[in-house]
Amino acid sequence: MSCWDTVQDYALRSIGIGERLLPRDDFTLCKQVVLIGSGMIWNVYFGVLALSMGFFLAVALAMGKAARRTVLRKPSEWFIFLFRGSPLFIQFFFAYFVFLSLKGRSAIFDPFTAAWAGALVVLFFNTAAYSGEIFYGALRAIPRGDMEAAEAYGLTGWTRFRRITFPTMLRLAWPAYTNEAIFLFHATTLVFFTGFPAWQQRGDALYYASYFADRTFNPFVPYPILALYFIGLTLCIAALFGKASRRLNRHLPAERRRKMSLRPNFLR
């Protein structure tokens, strides 16, 4: 069996297209690379969707936390505290069992016991809370002069938010938000190691990597492959966000543009 056959059989295995059975013997390097790469589809799916939906909730949370009205501030503060203060791992478990018991009550919750929807909800809330805190910090760091200038121009309410507050906030928060995006993608590997079952063995990259490690009892092949995939993914995200950052900062003189630096961030 040539490597191309393997690609045809397993490249889309993680979404259920191709060979039904996972390889049981003769674990060639090609099979491992293809199958783990196929699992990356799920990591990208979770990461991209959670990030793009979470962005809007995060902005809302940041505005809420910075609001003067207690009715708006308290819920946002609690939401952020709840999701930032507890381990994502436990959140996954808890959410899974909540959905499982809700499933008995109503059929609406059926999809949420599967990873594609249930885990997505958890990741969505989680990234919203983390980025909400980042945006909140940026909101507090907006130079006073900018707001005063906006007032002097007679900008108020929605117009001021759209033209001054929001772009400045985004610009200030961007380096930290890039880190958050990278580590969200890393966090997607947790999904299939919590309660959520991998239906018909359609798992993510780490699921397949640990499958190979279990079968061959040799961790020195699948995990480095996984590592290479993730380093590639990280570089892609960094490049994309760097591009966006250049666009956000395009009005600033060159020497005032802060260099995008990827600083450490941590798992949650």
């Binding site: 505290f81 507890s86 436990i90 478990f93 890393h186 996984l226 590592a227 380093i231 990280t234 450490p264």
Partner: protein, 250 residues
């Protein structure tokens, strides 16, 4: 689990210290080693590292013992899908009591955590060492201290203030990473929450109940929230104490 926190935090700090020193060493290969250690661990999901190191460390130790104890063993160590070492090299030996196996597994988990979090700590400490004002080191040189002396007497005592925000962040992360212990095959709170919470029928137990796992995990969630909240307050206090009288912009 709390034991893990207590043991891992200092070990990780030690690893981090080593990494930070290596990253700013003058010998080029050592510096590369330090930098690579920090970069690789940060670029890859840490859960992958946890899964990897547990097997890798176990096999590494057995392989070394195999080489040392059974020199006249001719078969290859990797036979297809098996990892075979001679009986004397088994670690812990197969006739050891159960608690030895558990302690050994726990020790490997601690080392794994220390390796991963050591890289994060190394990064924080490296930044903190760079943040110590240059003038302080120049003054030390003016007093005739050698590089090592200046490092020991000036840089290390002063860097903690700069390192503390990062380290407190790390501590939070460490707290939140402890449930991952479950993945390393150790019977921790997550394991018991799953086992005890599951549906119990009257046939097998004196205390039948439905599926309580949801409530067990809710309790865990609240427990972790409390833990992070308490350490947040404690670290804030510590920070206020350390920066007292220091010219640090906050």
């Amino acid at each position: 689990m709390l034991l893990l926190l207590a043991v891992t935090a200092p070990t990780a700090l030690l690893f981090g210290f080593g990494g930070a020193i290596a990253a700013r060493a003058r010998v080029l290969p050592v510096r590369w080693l330090g930098r690579a250690y920090i970069a690789i661990v940060r670029g890859v999901p840490d859960i992958a590292f946890f899964l990897f190191f547990v097997i890798a460390l176990d096999q590494g130790i057995e392989w070394v013992r195999h080489q040392a104890l059974c020199p006249d063993w001719t078969l290859p160590v990797r036979q297809g899908s098996d990892f075979v070492v001679c009986a004397a090299a088994k670690m812990p030996s197969s006739n050891a009591p159960q608690w030895v196996h558990e302690v050994y597994g726990f020790a490997i988990a601690v080392v794994t955590f220390a390796i991963v979090f050591g890289a994060f700590a190394a990064n924080v400490l490296h930044g903190a060492m760079m943040a110590v004002p240059r003038a302080q080191i120049e003054t030390a040189e003016a007093y005739g201290m050698s590089r090592a002396q200046a490092f020991r007497r000036i840089v290390v005592p002063q860097m903690w203030v700069y390192a503390l925000p990062g380290l407190s962040n790390l501590w939070m992360v460490l707290i939140k990473a402890t449930p991952l212990l479950f993945l390393l095959g150790i019977e921790d709170v997550v394991y018991w929450a799953r086992e005890l919470g599951g549906t119990k029928t009257p046939q097998f137990t004196d205390y039948p109940h439905g599926d309580w796992r949801m409530w067990y995990f809710l309790a865990l969630l609240v427990f972790y929230l409390g833990l992070t909240r308490v350490s947040e307050i404690a670290l804030d206090r510590l920070m206020a104490r350390l920066t007292f009288g220091q010219a640090v912009a906050r």
